[in-house]
């Protein structure tokens, strides 16, 4: 099987496997990250995933990465590893927030939130409604320009949240067994597209999904927004002063809001005014 190369932020990697069905699944899942072969001298992480009698064995540049018995755990474990690598390789260029990014044209809404706030599900609805996918896990703010660099990894949805999207999931034949607990949806799966250029943040919105709640959008002061953003950064310590400066510029230049919602459509209508 030929190698396929990928890039997420500054991290370049390739994933090899002898298993044809897993190979097809990986190519489909990471399609928005595909790039050409690396130039000579550029380090690229080589991940190999090998089937064995005990399940799956993954290595990174020849060193053990993970083992799992469950087919439906392989891609999730790989995504978790890549999340760490993406953040690690952003040092010195981007402050990376635990945030989704959705955009229209060059205007983006940054959605920082801790796990469980419904960020990925809202992002999936947004992409299905015509927003471009900038990422559902990494809001990467350029330390110099304060623009957002897209990291359009697949959207990972847990089985419960995924019910609305399962019909849009179109795994290659035979690879369904890799997607029973989590769906990993590309922008294309959702009928949308992934961002391929930097975008300007126009609003910071801290979403919270609350079943049955009426839409409640409130302004958040910039000082409070700054504290919340700091709490959602992955790599603030890598370049703390420049990260702080970048977050200060952000909260001084765009509105910050909290948004409690249960209906994604209403939430997206509320967000539209910031991306027009």
């Amino acid at each position: 099987m030929t190698d396929t190369w990928y890039r997420a932020l500054a991290h370049r990697f390739t994933v090899g496997t002898e298993d044809a069905e897993l190979h097809e699944a990986l190519v489909a899942v990471f399609s928005d990250l595909q790039v050409g072969p690396p130039s000579v001298g550029v380090h690229e992480e080589r991940i190999d995933i090998t089937p064995s009698p005990e399940g799956w064995v993954a290595t990174s540049d020849g060193s053990p990465l993970f083992r799992t018995r469950a087919d439906d755990d392989v891609i999730s474990r790989l995504v978790v590893h890549l999340n760490r690598q993406i953040t690690r390789t952003a040092a010195g260029t981007h402050v990376v927030l635990h945030a989704a990014v959705i955009a229209r044209g060059r205007n983006a809404v940054l959605l920082p939130a801790p796990p469980g706030a419904g960020k990925s599900t809202l992002t999936a609805h947004a992409v299905r409604s015509g927003w471009a996918l900038g990422g559902d896990e990494h809001g990467a703010l350029d330390l110099q320009t304060s623009r957002l660099r897209p990291v359009p990894k697949p959207l990972t949805l847990k089985a419960g949240s995924a019910a609305n999207f399962r019909t849009e999931h179109n795994p290659p034949n035979g690879s369904e067994r890799f997607f029973t607990r989590h769906l990993h949806l590309t922008a294309q799966d959702l009928g949308g597209r992934a961002l391929d250029h930097d975008v300007e943040p126009r609003a910071i919105v801290f979403p919270t999904y609350a079943p049955g709640a009426a839409l409640d959008v409130r302004e958040l002061g910039p000082a409070r927004a700054l504290v919340h953003l700091r709490a959602e950064t992955f790599n603030f310590h890598d370049d703390a002063e420049r990260s702080f400066d970048t977050l200060v510029r952000l909260v001084r230049s765009v509105p910050a809001l909290t948004m409690r919602y249960s209906d994604a459509e209403s939430a997206l209508i509320a967000l539209s005014r910031y991306a027009s």
Binding site: G221, P222, R224, L226, V227, A240, E241, F244, V248
Partner: protein
């Protein structure tokens, strides 16, 4: 605390916003949000002050009794000292 002179740490970055003051500690990379009362105290710690001096200034400015101001002032100062945003020195006799 009565005999101590209190001052802001000099290496901190301060940013003012309409909903409070942000103090960034480059040593710990911590970001601290000072609300209204904490900002009032913070602003009066330059260059330095004792607890008594702060009580005089703040109760005078707010027109509030010293015993009312005292309790909140001590709480704010404890927080600022705990977070190592303020340092204390023995006041000369």
């Amino acid at each position: 605390m009565e005999r101590q002179r209190l001052a802001r740490r000099e290496d901190l970055r301060v940013e003012r916003f309409e909903d409070g003051t942000i103090v960034f500690d480059p040593k710990s990379a911590a970001v601290h949000h000072l609300d209204g009362p904490a900002t009032i105290v913070w602003d009066r710690l330059a260059p330095s002050a004792t607890l008594e001096e702060l009580l005089d200034i703040i109760s005078g400015e707010l027109g509030a009794p010293r015993d009312v101001v005292s309790q909140e002032l001590e709480q704010v100062l404890e927080t600022l000292l705990d977070r190592e945003l303020v340092v204390s020195h023995e006041s000369p006799p």
